[in-house]
């Protein structure tokens, strides 16, 4: 087992006092970055990249990857407490995390989120340690058609399982696709739907839409409902962590499934956001408490968080082995590698052993350190909800505005955020689900791109989506997920079960 020996060498590198200090600093910065909406992991890492030029490459990558872990952890905090996803991949965490907080169970929700993040990351790191070369080869099989298959599956698993009427889900998703298509069309290099308005050149940034739809929309709803947080009854309970841990083993199946989904999405590389949505959708389908999802089920927090972290971690593998970043943050880290004179790709594992295994060892330790840091903060964070709404709401508004401004350094975006807020409020009032719309805004561009790349390659023939077993089976899974309600109905009719009401 040469890998294991290499890994222990890696641990020896990471356990130097300077590197441990770098690790703790990185995690703390990352959590802060994750909490601030708008200042995403990618921006955070990019801003702090130059700080690391004076360090050795190994220390530098430890610091930056720890910022990345911290941001992954931190994204969950605002999702649970205020229904504002700090990062794209924590959108799915709000679905059950925020209702839990409203029921006064913020501590449980946060503990579940952090712990599942840790489990997901650990699973992904073990996978990287053992099967890195195999996985890298698998990732190479993913051309445009296969990538589209993955996005198709993500959308389908979402429509099929939605609690809302399917037509409202589809309508919301279509609005999302329309918003996603504004701006430059990457396939033809033409501007679309900008009506000559320069500000629309960049399209609607996902983060601004999310901050508006969720954050501002939520504040408007709360104002209507009487200016108070429902979570005020939350008791500060220092043992909440252990009490939640006692419940978690029950969801091992959800956890394992989410780990696998996450790793798959991270490697392919579709990224952490579709992973979290897909995993939430499938958990809802598979769980016997599926109908209670969305009302504050702990399982609904476990599923997306596990998958997001597993994907976020495994996204580093294609970056190291192939030089293709699996996420925007990985893209910035990739830039960092080049600046430090390390050429990512197949030769990195051969020529820069110390660096690669130091990084992998830091993934193990970084996640343990990160978990300890965020868990100690749980009672403190849960207590934030005890602050009166009249004080916290303006603070949230200011944070939202800063977040929206940071995305492009533009005040236009702040106004856009307000518009999205009102829009989100109206949609909620009319019982349109926001999640499919957000999913479409996030993945709409990428899905369209891979769809059109495939059709270019096949010269317009749709058979490319069935041209080999890999893409064929992904598409088939997607179709099954889409028509699942009909299929399950048909199945019960064929094989009637005793009616339980």
């Amino acid at each position: 087992m040469e890998e294991i020996a290499n890994l222990f060498n890696g641990f020896a590198v990471v356990l130097q006092p300077f590197n441990i200090m770098v690790m703790v600093v990185g995690i703390l910065l990352g959590v802060i970055i994750g909490v601030l909406p708008g200042l995403g992991g990618a921006n955070g890492v990019a801003i702090l990249l130059p700080l690391t030029f004076s360090m050795s490459p190994t220390s530098a990558i430890i610091m930056l990857s720890c910022i990345y872990w911290g941001a992954l952890f931190g994204g969950a905090i605002t999702s649970v407490l205020f229904n504002i996803p700090g990062e794209p991949w924590s959108v799915a965490t709000t679905f059950d995390g925020h209702p839990m907080a409203q029921k006064g169970k913020a501590g449980e929700a946060l503990t579940a989120a952090f712990t599942s993040s840790f489990v997901g990351a650990l699973f992904a790191v073990i996978m990287i340690t053992l099967v890195a070369p195999l996985v890298a080869a698998f990732a190479l099989r993913f051309g445009p058609a296969e990538k589209f298959g993955v996005y198709f599956l993500a959308f389908c698993s979402f429509i099929g399982m939605s609690k809302e009427p399917p037509f409202k889900t589809v309508a919301a998703m279509m609005i999302g696709f329309a918003l996603a298509s504004v701006g430059l069309d990457e396939m033809t290099g033409q501007l679309r739907l900008t009506f000559g308005f320069e500000k629309l050149l960049t399209g609607f940034d996902f983060l601004i839409a999310v901050i508006g739809l969720f954050g501002i929309g939520e504040i408007l709803l709360t104002m209507e409902e009487g200016l108070s947080f429902k979570g005020r009854s939350a008791k500060i309970n220092s043992r909440v962590v252990f009490q939640t841990w006692a419940q978690l083993p029950r969801y091992w199946m959800t956890s394992l499934r989410s780990c696998i989904i996450g790793c798959w999405m991270g490697v392919t590389p579709a990224g952490a956001t579709p992973a979290s949505f897909m995993s939430y959708g499938i958990a809802k389908r598979a769980s016997k408490d599926g109908h209670k999802f969305g009302t504050g089920e702990i399982e609904g927090v476990v599923a997306p968080e596990t998958a997001a972290h597993a994907a976020g971690t495994s996204a580093l593998l294609p970056m190291l082995a192939l030089g293709v970043p699996g996420s925007p943050t990985a893209a910035v880290l990739l830039g960092g590698l080049l600046i430090w004179g390390l050429q990512p790709g197949p030769m990195l594992f051969v020529e820069q052993k110390e660096f690669v295994w130091g990084l992998i060892a830091s993934m193990y330790l970084g996640n343990v350190v990160g978990l300890l840091i965020v868990l100690t903060c749980v009672p403190l964070l849960a207590a934030i909800l005890r602050i009166p709404f009249s004080i916290i709401a303006p603070v949230i508004l200011v944070f939202c505005a800063i977040g929206a401004y940071t995305v492009h350094n533009s005040t236009f975006d702040v106004m856009l955020m307000m518009v999205f807020g009102v829009f989100g409020y109206l949609l909620k009032k009319c019982n349109y689900p926001l999640a499919p719309m957000v999913l479409a805004i996030v993945l709409g561009n990428a899905a369209e791109e891979s769809f059109r790349q495939s059709l270019l390659a096949s010269q317009g023939s749709l058979t490319i989506f069935w041209s080999n077993w890999l893409v064929g089976s992904i598409m088939a899974l997607g179709l099954i997920a889409l028509f699942w309600p009909l299929i399950s109905q048909a199945l019960t009719r064929v094989r009637p079960r005793p009616v339980t009401t």
Binding site: A42, A46, L49, P50, F53, S54, L140, R141, F142, G143, P144, G183, L184, D185, E186, M187, T188, G189, Q190, L191, E198, L201, T202, G203, L322, G323, V324, P325, P328, A331, V332, L334, G335, L338, I339, G341, Q343, P344, G345, P346, M347, L348, H408, N409, E449, Q453, L456, A457, Q459
Partner: protein
Amino acid sequence: MSRKTKFCNFVVLSAFALAPLYAAVPVAAAWEPSRPVEFIIPAGTGGGADIMARTVQGIVAKHNLMKQPMVVINKSGGAGGEGFLDVKNSKGNPHKIIITLSNLFTTPLATGIPFNWKDLTPVAMLALDEFVLWVNAEKPYKNVKEFVDAAKKANGTFKMAGTGSKQEDQIITVAIEKSTGAKFIYIPQRGGGAVAVQLVGNHADSTVNNPNEALSHWRGGKLRPLCVFDEKKLVYTDKLAGDMSWSSIPTCKSQGLDMAYLMLRGIFMTPGATKDQIDYYVGLFQKVRETPEWKKLMSDGAFNQTFMTGKEYTDWVAREEKRHEELMKEAGFLAKK
């Protein structure tokens, strides 16, 4: 607004009025940034321009080349149009510079956004980025002729993956078609790294990746370079893949593929910059070029290290604009007016 204009007029007038006094001051202190300098990248994180700008930022910080910090900001929306318009609209703000790639020409030509490089103040050319024709190493063709024959035989089903649409990679593809008569299906991708992997995974038949985007796969034995789109061979002789170095790749011209293309990596600043301000940045980048970190970046990416400033640079940019307009007109890429 009008009050602001009046105030500006007042400042300008009084500056003129006091000009003789300035001249009298012995250390007519050259201009220096008094606030943090924004360094705009009209491209996404992780790409070639981004890496170069962030390296510069790191060099400036490490060697203390500037008293104020340098802040790098990506404004990649609309194929970089977002960044160009931002700099264009910051007239008279000397604390903002931008690094450009070929989208300085291609984006306004293809999209029709109200921008032209003449809206900015040219500072200096930092380097030129090379393009290489790559194929998968499993494929039988070993030189340009065999490659072109295979492409012709495929009868329009040969796939060329490249970065972006109606940008440099597609322009080169169209030029190859013109020069050889072979037809390609061009498949736009989001970044150079993804392009290289599509080729390694056999989802495309060829690419025109920049050297550093494909280097690692070349060294890993997955890709094969056929020719470089420059007038002369590359100068870097370090052995990279077996006995091959960058300098062993023949020029496309010598292989009967008459096309040369280099991509600008240059610096511009906001409109209305004074000579003092331009000189300051020219001096800054001259110092950056002296550092070992910069030299390493250049040799890793097999860059063409031409450095130009002043009129020479402006003339070069004007010539390139004309050339892009011709190339894009021939290819039918110009925005409809």
